[in-house]
Symmetry: C2
Subunit: 190 residues, 2 copies
DNA sequence: TTTTTGACCAAAATAACATTTTAGTCAATT
DNA sequence: AATTGACTAAAATGTTATTTTGGTCAAAAA
């Protein structure tokens, strides 16, 4: 089993990316944190970017797994969106990496980070789109472009969770869930 | 009537800000474009930033006027939002200044521009919030936080008009109106 | 042999310094 | 009283020197 070291490296790198961001994390730092010679990192990963991408892919997978753990195909799309939403709100407080990357993207615009976030966005939107399409085929929700529906949901999530904080007091999980339901499912019409 | 010159200056500055953005526009350039000595600008405006703010305030006022020209208090909130939305989509193609500032903000992060856009956002959200509040009081739409409702509408507008272009083909005015109605008023539920 | 290592190197980032550009002033001009 | 453009200090930009960092590889360790 050669990859106890690989695990150490990935763990150290994840910690460092989470605390300092992509740019401020050096390969020497990762090596030191992992108690490994720098060269060892390069036996597992071609370069810094590939190591970073590997970690991002893991993050996406974990998000997916977390969502799938609460989604019940027997339940309605509406109910599952609610469950997944709460799961993501909980996930967020645990996995600070995405939060840190979001921040680095906005205030430094590091290319590798921009690219990584784009991929995450793609994965999330694609995932929601599939669920939405299925719900439409089951005639559970209105017929509309599933890609756009997924994109709008993701953006609304960011709007309520991240953007709103700059205008008013941060919203509680319950408030976010209520508002998400209002705008995505019910609409303002009476 | 001393202010034929002031008008020239404001016109020249508006043109330059629109074509080159805030940072790439110099006071010398504005003076030359307006056929005016540079000092003259400073008899009307304390500094570059104040001149810029003045122009931004005018833009906000024009947007407000354009919206109010199509809004009919006798009509429903729903109908008025539809009208205002179309007016804004038309307005956008005319007044390229906001578009240019949006771009400069995203790719350069010029502080003065960030601040100006924040003010525009505030003005727009405040305006929509008042309309939404009135509609709620008339029991025309669901009771909810009008500030958040306004914020969500503005963000949805940006999502559909600007952000979506990076994922799929730009949406037509009609498509945008349909989607806006779907998510704000009707909701996905059947 | 295979895996690990850290001194080593080229390239990139940063700092230090020189040069140019620009916002804003004001004495002279109209 | 209004206008101007040469002028200045400060900011931006360009240039060069210095340091940092990603990535390599011959040697050491396993």
């Amino acid at each position: 089993m050669a990859s106890e070291r690989k695990k150490d490296i990935v763990e150290a790198a994840t910690k460092s990316f989470t605390f300092f961001g992509y740019k401020a994390t050096t390969m020497d730092q990762i090596a030191k944190l992992a108690n490994v010679g720098k060269g060892t990192i390069y036996t597992f990963f071609k370069n810094k970017d590939e190591l970073f991408e590997d970690i991002c892919i893991t993050l996406i997978q974990e998000m997916k797994r977390a969502a799938e753990a609460v989604i019940d195909p027997a339940q309605s799309f509406h109910e599952n969106v609610h469950r997944a939403l709460f799961e993501m709100l909980a996930f967020r407080t645990k996995h600070q990496l995405a939060v840190k990357l979001f921040q680095e993207e906005k205030e430094m615009g590091t290319p590798a980070v921009t690219q990584a976030l784009k991929k995450m966005e793609d994965a999330i939107v694609a995932y929601i789109a599939v669920q939405a399409k299925e719900a439409m085929d089951r005639n559970e929700i209105q017929q509309t472009d599933p890609q756009i529906a997924a994109f709008v949901m993701m953006k609304l999530y960011v709007t309520l969770v991240v953007d709103w904080e700059r205008r008013g007091p941060a919203l509680s999980k319950e408030e976010i869930a209520k508002l998400f339901e209002l705008y995505v499912f019910k609409g303002l019409s009476r």
